[in-house]
């Protein structure tokens, strides 16, 4: 008598294997989530405020308006190694405001005054254009509105400022309210080690 499996046997085994694999994957995801290892993060390549090629006039502020956490769990983060440290930074100044006596824009961009700057190295009082600045975001003031992110984006800036979720604030909702509202699906769930990587920003000096 032949011991060869029939086609039906083979298909059955494949189907059982597929179901078991899917169940295993889902169980693993739930276990990781239960341990807090799966978290929400902003995909900066999808976020309209940082996505290259988008030239909308106004920044999207859904991260501010939709998050269930007071003042939002999203913050603007400046990656210092990418920052140009410019004298006139379009994310710091409102570059279309009137020019003051120092030859700089007279208004700041951030509506909450959440960006501070301090000179790097020796200050040249004769020619301010010789000075470099460190731009520091005050996370107690920032509400993730994205205005500075939009102005830092290439080609206007160097794209050093992006929106990131802060895990000391995020409550990791199953159905993140920002993700439900975001028209660009820019909120994604990731293992926490991947989600943290771009936000592990070392400040100079």
């Amino acid at each position: 008598m032949s011991e060869d499996p029939t086609r039906r046997d083979l298909l059955g085994k494949v189907a059982r294997g597929t179901v078991l694999a899917a169940l295993g994957g889902a169980a693993g995801f739930l276990v990781k989530k239960a341990h807090g290892q799966i978290v929400w993060q902003v995909d900066v390549s999808r976020c309209i405020n940082s996505r290259l090629g988008e030239t909308a006039a106004e920044a999207c502020n859904l991260c501010t308006t939709e998050c269930v956490v007071a003042l939002s769990a999203v913050r603007a983060v400046n990656e210092y190694f990418k920052c140009g440290r410019c004298n006139i930074c379009p994310a710091y100044f409102n570059i279309t405001s009137a020019v003051n006596e120092q030859g700089q824009p007279s208004e700041k961009l951030c509506p909450r005054d959440a960006i501070a700057r301090k000179p790097i190295g020796k200050v040249d009082p004769e020619d301010p254009a010789n000075n470099f600045y460190e731009y520091i975001i005050d996370e107690e003031k920032c509400d993730g509105c994205g205005k500075c992110v939009m102005k830092c984006k290439e080609p206007l800036g160097l794209g050093s400022i992006t929106l990131r979720i802060r895990y000391d604030r995020c409550v990791n909702c199953n159905a993140c309210a920002i993700s439900l509202a975001c028209p660009h699906n820019a909120l994604v769930q990731l293992p926490i080690d991947q989600a943290l990587q771009p936000a592990e920003v070392k400040r100079p000096g």
């Binding site: 020019v99 040249d124 206007l156």
Partner: protein, 265 residues
């Protein structure tokens, strides 16, 4: 002065730098090749460079200089390689080339300076390096400059919103330009202008939003040549000007060269 848009020349692939020879033929550098267009914009010839070409310039004797990473290749007008100046330190990223007197100038973006060489390739001196910030401020990543009829070098210093004048020996003579985000006579954004060409005036290109302008040599704005015809994401738009005052500008996103000519009002 007013200008009108008269022509679009397809860059036929990669496009970074452009230059005109004294016959009005247009040379374009991009990918790993040099392309030669006639005055009507038809592609006449193309030849390969050994590395991706970032800039191009044509000397009075017709030699074509192609700036690359780590080297400059020198060709005759037919594309035959005549010489290679290779120096991984002094020529790390050559984004502009020009000539003054018997010297060859190379805009070296990795070190934020202009290198001056003799015609044999011997290094003579730096230009734009002897200052408090040890170079030109180029967050945009490219050094660019033009040379006037007296041999003075006009270098874009976008981080300072200026075009600076230097002697071939590297002495800073002065500058034109200032920041202004409203008045078109100023340069806007963090860092503009990114590109400069010199002919009968100073021609500048800016990024975000892309804009091409002309100034007289005292720094007075003469014309806004173009603004809205370029892709909004353009930057480092190289400029060249021919003997008739026609202005050629690279759209670095559409990979095309837009041509503008002055209109007598």
């Amino acid at each position: 002065m007013q200008y009108r848009h008269v022509q679009v020349i397809d860059g036929k692939g990669g496009l970074r730098g452009i230059a005109l020879d004294r016959h009005g033929q247009l040379y374009a550098a991009g990918d790993s090749e040099i392309k030669l267009f006639d005055a009507s914009g038809r592609l006449r010839r193309r030849w390969s460079t050994s590395r991706p070409a970032w800039s191009v310039a044509v000397a009075n004797d017709g030699a074509v200089y192609a700036g690359q990473l780590g080297q400059i290749e020198i060709f005759d007008g037919g594309g035959k390689l005549l010489n290679t100046w290779r120096d991984e330190k002094l020529l790390r990223r050559v984004t502009a080339i020009g000539f003054t007197g018997d010297s060859v100038l190379a805009g070296e973006s990795a070190d934020r300076a202009i290198r001056r060489f003799d015609r044999g390739g011997k290094f003579l001196n730096n230009i734009g390096k002897n200052n408090a910030v040890n170079g030109l401020l180029i967050p945009n990543g490219g050094v660019d400059f033009g040379v006037d009829a007296q041999g003075i070098i006009w270098a874009a210093n976008p981080g300072k919103h200026r075009v600076e004048r230097y002697t071939p020996g590297g002495e800073l003579l002065g500058h034109i330009g200032r920041f202004d985000g409203i008045d078109p006579a100023g340069f806007t954004g963090c860092c503009n202008p990114t590109n400069v060409a010199i002919h009968d005036a100073i021609y500048t290109a800016e990024k975000a939003g892309p804009r091409v302008k002309a100034y007289d040599f005292s720094g007075k704005l003469q014309a806004v040549i173009a603004t809205d015809l370029f892709d909004a994401n353009c930057k480092n738009m190289d400029i060249a000007v021919d003997s008739r005052g026609r202005v050629y500008v690279v759209d670095t996103v559409k990979l095309a060269i837009l041509v503008f000519e002055p209109v007598k009002v």
